[in-house]
């Protein structure tokens, strides 16, 4: 970890850099600080797990995470100070290993302290705020990633917004179509195998191939109906991207709807009917609340999946964070790829986390 490069130094943004250790780049103080925190973390593993120890481990892991980030920024600043203006400092293997280890240690410790949802949310928010604060204060300014960001600040905000919009525009209709389809499949078991056969088939089509398949019909549609074209419907752009994302989301939506309502105890339904609940009352008061945790788990899956898939949509001009990924790939500029990839990962993790919290609150017992 110490041996491999903590950061890399390249003469410009397009060539591969040479690894530089933290010792060389950031100085002894940072190395000592990180080593001390890592040693403490290691010790905490061998101490009998108590609530206090777990809290301490969580705190140390968080400190290690933030120190690692700060070290990367500081190393970059010191390296950049003595090099030509075109030189770039990127994050190296050592940084990523340290970052991943401290993040995993933090997650592990947080799970063991068994804190409630709101407290977890507060911890995550505090960490995020600390990162943003460090960025605002210019701690990362010398990193190549930050340079790429500064060059594309306006584009970045637009791409992030577009990405979220693509995902939302896909999930809404997927739920509107998939939920009733799932309920229909439950009411008529004969419908289940054809519905799942079609959805499974759609799921196996690779995304690029699906874009290709949609290109011709949508282009023809736009040509035939100028009004639709005015709304942005065309062979390329957001329309085929959203259609593809909806298509991929349908199977998980239908599947979790069927699983969710199928998991409701038949005796509960029988008792509800036998006591004189109308089908509507039974649905809203019993079936839906009892199915909600499984439904939300399904929503989590499709949201995370759609955030990831939407990256590919950039290929057909739909925009979003994928734009940077594909630009970066084209220019062989690794930090530009990261500029698209890292926010995508952050977005997916955030959505996953929030929906998990929501699922936890609904699975708590409710009152009629």
């Amino acid at each position: 970890m110490i041996g491999c490069g903590f950061v890399t130094l390249a003469p410009n943004r397009l060539v591969s850099g040479r690894p530089v250790t933290l010792w060389e780049a950031g100085g002894a103080a940072l190395v000592v600080a990180i080593a001390a925190l890592a040693a403490l973390l290691l010790i905490s593993v061998f101490v009998t797990a108590q609530r206090l120890v777990n809290w301490a481990a969580a705190l140390i892991a968080a400190a290690l995470l933030l120190t690692t980030l700060a070290a990367a920024g500081s190393a970059a600043a010191q390296l950049a100070a003595g090099t030509p203006a075109l030189a770039r400092v990127s994050l190296g293997a050592g940084f990523w290993v340290l970052f991943a280890v401290s993040a995993l240690a933090l997650i592990d410790a947080m799970q063991r302290v068994e804190i409630g949802g709101p407290a977890k949310l507060a911890v995550v928010a505090a960490l995020a705020a600390a990162c943003v604060g460090m960025a605002e204060a210019g701690a990362f300014d010398a990193l190549s990633l930050a340079l790429e960001y500064r060059n594309r600040r306006a584009e970045f905000a637009a791409a992030l917004g577009r990405h979220a919009l693509l995902v939302a525009a896909a999930i809404g209709p997927a739920l509107l179509v998939g939920f009733p389809l799932g309920v229909a499949a439950l009411r008529r078991p004969g419908l289940q195998s054809p519905v799942f056969a079609v959805l499974n088939l759609l799921q196996t089509i690779p995304s690029i191939a699906l874009f290709g398949l949609l290109l011709a019909p949508l282009a023809a549609l736009a040509a035939a109906a100028p009004l639709l074209a005015a709304f942005g419907i065309g062979g390329i752009g957001p329309a085929p991207a959203i259609i593809a994302l909806i298509t991929y989301a349908l199977l998980p939506v239908v599947r979790s709807t069927v699983a969710a309502f199928g998991s409701v105890d038949a005796a509960v339904i029988d008792a509800g009917r036998g006591m004189g609940m109308t089908p509507r009352q039974l649905f809203w008061q019993a079936e839906l609340p009892l199915a909600a945790p499984v439904l939300l788990a399904g929503l989590r899956i499709i949201t995370v999946q759609a955030i990831g898939l939407a990256v590919v949509a950039a290929l057909i001009g739909a925009g979003g964070l994928g734009t940077f990924v594909f630009q970066g790939l084209g220019q062989y500029a690794g930090d530009l790829i990261l500029l698209g990839a890292l926010p995508t990962i952050a977005l997916a993790l955030a959505a996953d986390f929030l929906l998990q919290m929501l699922a936890a609150t609904t699975s708590r017992r409710t009152r009629p």
Partner: protein
Amino acid sequence: MIEIEHVAKVYQGRRVVDDLSLTIPDGALCVLLGPSGCGKSTTLRMINRLIPFDAGEIRVGGEDIRRVPPEELRRRIGYAIQSTGLFPHWRVEDNIATVPRLLGWSQQRMRDRVTELLELFRLDPETYRHKYPHQLSGGEQQRVGVARALAADPAVLLMDEPFAAVDPIVRDALQGEIARIHRATGKTIVFVTHDIDEALRLATVIAIMERGRLAQSGVPLEIVENPASEFVREFVGREAAGLKSLALRKVSERLQPGDGAAGEPIEAAASLRDALAAMTARRTDRLPVVDAAGNPAGVITLADLVR
């Protein structure tokens, strides 16, 4: 009163209920008894229209049930089932108040009714009111299930093998409670079971069903002592029927005047089966009998039991 007249139900070409006629008087505890698949549960579920029937007529309290909207009918008839069907996401009090809430009772009235029912089932209201079903034992869940069925004070209560899934000791206690509640409330209860002993213990009327048809109906003693067919004889248990009939008859029916028996006396209201058990345990062939007040009433001998 529940009147079932020439009712039939055809399911996939099979007559699961075939020309069934049965009248259940007010205040009766009628047990529908028979092997699985004989149509007893189907019959029960036709009474609250959970299953539609193809022919005949069912009247509850003189009213043709097909003239009442199904939900309205079901809110007037209590319904308790084997697996309880308690709503797992509601507290005990919300579960019990299900039908009252559908009927639009006030909060205060629902609260009072829940308290009253929990007390009726000997569950401390303040302890149990706020629990969730998964926090209760099997027996407690079943009690709450029956309490829920009684919540809106229905004149008729339908019970579909309510105690089949609990262990024998709990089942015995629950049967005792149903007998007590039946005596205390005077409800008309229709009770489905495949357990002859449960039927003999609880029923005021037994209707034995065989492949969708009524094999015999009558008071328990009549079923045990005069089975109408080979099927009923078989179901009641041939030789074992003798013991069952002893359990249904009282010492007072067979006692003789006089004294001359020694030892602990037996009450005249006890069953002949209890007398037999006492004789066997004490290795004697005669027991002194006393009346409810404890005054000597006569003697019962082993020979009297088999008379």
